[in-house]
């Protein structure tokens, strides 16, 4: 038995690298399988397409990671995406705003939706599951109202975000990467991030330590709303339209990605970096299944299976690590 210090550092390192390594293995397996099935899969094109595909889900998943870390959940992100995109679309079409202010407006809408989620949960100490379930319905209704239940075609005005600029990659890809990196730093290096982990683990202890969890929780939900709003704009820019049905069911995909990335649904444990890889797993799976032309039932069954397997593997790894240490 040696001194404990080197051990600690090593353990901490192994943990972060561990999750990502596990996900990389899963990714490699999938890429291998799909490459074997389709000669066109293992090409730069595929990966560029995937890369340009993920920003909307990725940024929304970043917000969801924070929410799960404080032991909350946000089922309204899909609707928020649609509502924010709808408002941005109207701003561009009817009020002739340009892309940048419209994007900020969308993020503002997201913040408001998220803050309402947070404020209601906090004020009456309600589980966020049910509050955001209500919001899922309300924000979707609002998106219908805003667009008059019709897809609003925006056109070239919004497509800049999704158009390739460097190496075939779009600005939204780079923005998403920056957000992931910044969020990871915030989570691991700041007082804010630590407080969130504390709240997710033992809210009462945080309260007793003089950290009021309430404003922090509202901020986290607002942040999730903001990022969902941005995700909505990203989605719109690929569609060049504001679709009132955009993001239907996105909440479950986003949550699945975050959980596959090793973030705990019980709160207190999570990493934005591995969320990103969780998003990749789902995207590669989706892309690959489409590329080999799998039938709908097959897709469903395989997707469900992969979600479960990915989480089982993560748990086993996590547990082995614990036993080892």
């Amino acid at each position: 038995m040696t001194s404990s210090k080197p051990l600690t550092t090593r353990a901490a390192l192994t943990s972060a690298v561990g999750t990502v390594a596990g996900l990389l293995v899963a990714l490699a397996l999938m890429v291998g399988f799909f490459s074997w099935q389709s000669e066109y899969f293992f090409t730069a094109d595929t990966f560029i397409t995937i890369a340009n595909d993920i920003p909307a889900v990725a940024v929304t998943a970043v917000g969801m990671t924070f929410v799960l870390i404080i032991a909350g959940i946000d089922l309204s992100v899909g609707s928020t995406m649609a509502l924010a995109a709808a408002v941005a679309g109207i701003a561009m079409l009817q009020w002739h705003w340009s892309l940048l202010p419209a994007t900020f407006l969308a993020m503002g809408v997201g913040v408001v939706v998220g803050a309402i989620n947070g404020a209601i949960s906090v004020a009456w100490r309600l589980p966020s599951f049910i509050v955001t379930l209500g919001m899922l319905e309300m924000a979707r209704g609002a998106a219908y109202l805003a667009t008059d239940s019709r897809t609003q075609y925006i056109g070239g005005k919004i497509d800049w975000l999704g158009k390739p600029i460097v190496l075939g990659l779009s600005p939204q890809f780079f923005i998403a990467i920056v957000i992931v990196v910044v969020a990871q730093i915030v989570l691991t290096r700041t007082v804010f991030g630590r407080s969130l982990i504390g709240i997710g683990t033992n809210e009462e202890a945080m309260r007793l330590a003089g950290v009021d969890p309430r404003p922090l929780k509202v901020i986290v939900f607002a942040l999730a709303g903001l990022l969902a709003g941005l995700g909505g704009v990203f989605l719109s820019s690929r569609l060049e339209a504001a679709d009132p049905n955009a993001g239907t069911g996105a909440e479950l995909v986003v949550i699945a990605s975050v959980v596959i990335g090793g973030t705990s649904l019980m709160g207190g444990r999570g990493s934005v970096a591995s969320t990103f890889f969780g998003v990749l797993v789902i995207s590669v799976l989706e892309a690959g299944l489409a590329q080999i032309g799998a039938s709908e039932p097959t897709k469903r069954i395989i997707t469900g299976f992969v979600i479960i397997i990915a989480v089982v593997l993560d748990t086993l790894r996590e547990r082995r690590k614990k036993r080892g240490s």
């Binding site: 038995m1 404990s4 210090k5 600690t8 290096r189 007082v191 504390g198 009462e204 007793l208």
Partner: protein, 521 residues
Amino acid sequence: MSPGPGNLGAAPLPVLLQGRGIGKTYATPVLAGVDFELRAGEVLALTGENGAGKSTLSKIVAGLVQPTDGTLTLAGAPFAPASRKEAEKLGVRMVMQELSLVPTLSVAENLLLGRLPHRLGFIRGDALNEAAARQMALIGLQDIDPRLPVSALGVGYQQMVEIARSLVGECRLLILDEPTATLTSREIAHLFKQIELLKARGVAIVYISHRLDELQQVADRVMVLRDGRHIDTRPMRELTQADIVRRMVGRDVHEGLDRDVRPRGRRALAVRGLARGSVVRDVSFELFNGEVLGLAGLVGSGRTELLRLIDGADRKDAGEVLLGDSATPAKIASPVQAVRAGIGFVTEDRKSQGLLLPQSIRVNATLANLGAVSRGGWLQRDVERDEVDRLRDLLRVRSDSIEQPVDQLSGGNQQKVVFARWLHRDCDVLLLDEPTRGVDIGARADIYAQIDKMAAAGKALLMVSSDLRELMSQCDRIGVMSAGRLVRIFERGEWTEQLLLEAAFSAYSAAEKSAPQEQLA
């Protein structure tokens, strides 16, 4: 260096905190008309039975609970803290009776929770770890790496972290609510040294404990509460332990250090070569019907782990448990099998491992033996109510009714509910991990009486305690664990406090001076 109890009378210290007519009413009054004063640089011991209102009074002072009556003044100014933060701003701090740490954060982060050193919101890791190490050194824990997650520490160490945390920052008044309930003498010595230093700096200390011998060591004055009322406050030196007890419970209580050795029956249990990692190493012993075998040891010596292995709660790396006279190892891979085999387990951490906090006393008490209050799977409410009423009276659980949720009970009464559950189950072998943690002296006598009764009925009891006096008074034999090994089993008559302590340290000093923390890794 310190004023000490002796020279207190010479120059009365200035009054720091004064309470007048403090009252608190939930459904029923739990505090009424309490007057008290606290002087700078003194240690005021607060004692009373479980549920007397000690924690409630402390929480009022610390801003965690608002009184329904009465006023407080701090250094002459009105003092009505609306939150813990507000109280702490004025230098009033409290170590809670129940642990309130964040297991996923590191020791350092927990120590400085709410005041993490940062620059523009970014944590300054070095400053954090340094400050934490300094803080830990104050209470003799310089060996623990502040970067470890708290969850890697045992309950005892976690309690030490709690204490260390309260010493961070400006402090004029410190409340310690049963800080030593899970500590052994080594840690307690550190704590007392720290208390002396604080006193010398003029800090006023409220010290709550059910261990009266401790009070004699640290307290300058003693304040006794009974049923939420102030009974008496006097200088410590004017009182004997018996005086205090009489004031607390209104009657005499006999603990009796010198009991006869109980007649030993047949073998109830044999443990052979039990091991798990470096926490429990090759432990073997036998336990007999009708006896109480104590387990002493320092915090982290592996006593809890040993009980968990016997109970099947954790997986063992090696070894076996034999039941009764049987020569074949019993198959106990889970607590469920243990219960079925007649082994009960009163856990150390009642909050996370014992109780269903939001549920009633009734639900909690019958949990391990629902078969006795049901027929064919159907609960028989009347039977259940009668049995729980009986248990409640037997153990004198202070509560409004058996329907009261246990999270509304005081700590000691919660402990009694856990104990009641295993009385109800009526096991052949009972594993007791700190069974009197946070239990007052009167109630402790109740629990001891039950232990006695069970032993007399031929049950076998294995009791872990950090209170050596308790072990010495209650046990027929005492095993001592050190660094995961069972180093020696003393028979009644062989032991002295000194010998037990030496045994507890033995495996550590043999390996290295650097103490038990190596097992933390």
